[in-house]
Symmetry: C2
Subunit: 263 residues, 2 copies
């Protein structure tokens, strides 16, 4: 909901009949499955283009342009714009800036390069207001989401011997606070911000009796490996999984995995 301010967001339409389109451009999708409902169109469209920055991209289109060195697919679009020598509008600059900002975690992840900051500088020169963007993207909690975040923080359990912290969000928490399960995105990053914590985990008990885990780590812990042990996936330091097991069972298994890996 915080992205409603993006220019032209109201122009986004949902296609139903894919047979009438000649070109399909996939952005920021590592594989065909990530296209979801649209993936059948990949086999139908005469021209398919895949623009992405994920190193594990599966080259699923006819034309594949994968650049692992950029912050984001937004930065690729900027580079393309430059190559085509079309002047950027302020509206386009805002969209590209937001894509780069969020994919670098506010210019903080290791994909933040000198080139990416030079691009950002150029976007600012085109009229992007960084303060306004930050407020809209990051200072936009509902009171309910704030209360859910607080509940999650209050229940944080520190296992300092393992450099591990976790918390569990239950259906009861959603009822008490009035928030939605999706409004817990920043919680795991906040848990990781504690000194000497190497792994932070937020477990969410869904209404389908599943347990969803969001994981963050600092090197040398690779939570991508941890997530794969639960048939999940992700990056080295940001990953996740979904399981039918109860949250307390998951906690015990994760603690055993950490103990086995780092002792």
């Amino acid at each position: 909901p915080q992205y409603q301010f993006l220019p032209y967001i109201d122009k986004i339409a949902s296609a139903k009949d894919f047979s009438k389109y000649n070109v399909l451009i996939a952005l920021d999708a590592a594989n065909k499955a990530r296209l979801g409902r649209i993936s059948p169109a990949m086999d139908v469209c005469p021209i398919t283009i895949n623009i992405d920055h994920h190193p594990d991209n599966s080259d699923f289109a006819k034309i594949n342009w994968i650049d692992e060195k950029v912050t984001s697919t937004s930065e690729q679009i900027f580079n393309l714009w430059k190559l085509m020598d079309i002047p950027l509008t302020k509206e386009a600059a805002i969209c590209i800036y937001v894509g780069m900002l969020t994919d670098t975690g506010r210019w903080q992840y290791s994909n933040t390069t000198g080139h990416s900051l030079k691009v950002a500088a150029e976007l600012l020169d085109l009229g992007v207001e960084p303060t306004e963007i930050f407020e809209k993207v990051y200072e936009n909690f509902s009171v309910e989401a704030f209360k859910l975040l607080t509940a999650g923080l209050s229940k944080a359990v520190f296992e300092l011997g393992l450099g591990f912290v976790y918390t569990i969000i239950t259906q009861e928490d959603l009822k008490t606070t009035g928030a939605k399960m999706t409004e817990t995105e920043t919680l795991v990053d906040m848990l990781r911000s504690v000194k000497d914590i190497n792994v932070a985990m937020v477990l969410k008990e869904t209404d389908k009796h599943e347990t969803k885990a969001s994981l963050r780590s600092h090197p040398p812990v690779n939570v991508g490996d941890l997530a794969r042990a639960f048939d999940g996936g992700g990056h080295d330091n940001a990953a996740g999984f979904v399981t039918n097991e109860k949250s307390d069972v998951v906690v015990e298994k994760v603690k055993r995995w950490l103990t086995a890996s780092f002792s």
Copy 2:
């Protein structure tokens, strides 16, 4: 304490006898009083230089270089380095980057310009690791500080009609969590991150029976004016004051000020 990682921080020495120095350079100080214990040296040193970016700088030295257009005095130092045509070392780049990062609130405040991001890009090209810096500066909470933060968030009171949220940190909170009063810096920013909140306030009950207020606002609310009403001061959207009045009295007075100003 999070700045202990800065290169050469162990070389910082404290001067006692000011009469033996010929040059005094004041950095990032708006007026003589801000120099504290060192301010008498301003009258003794033959050459005094004042390098600052605050618009209300009082030109208190013999040579005054005030540049309001930069993010920070660190950015001025970068510009000076360029002018003098001395190659920047990685160590200097780290220090300048940290100064710019923290004075822009992670490239978010309105002082973030295209030029400042170009400077940041150049610093990254010199070997600054943004992820490492972010972790050291911003992901360095002690468990005690985390618990104090959580306590503060849990006690947040929303006055949505006034667009106002506040919380109170007591001596009891320090005892319960084991944290120090100084470890509450980020709390007020977190309170402000709630949608439709125009003013966030953290009140700290000190061990000297004073009440310290930290204030943040979004335009049009000017918490600088609010702070001055309590003999405090600061910027339009970040300000503070100290008073002998009890915290509950302060809350009532602030609510009256907001009601009078915005209704």
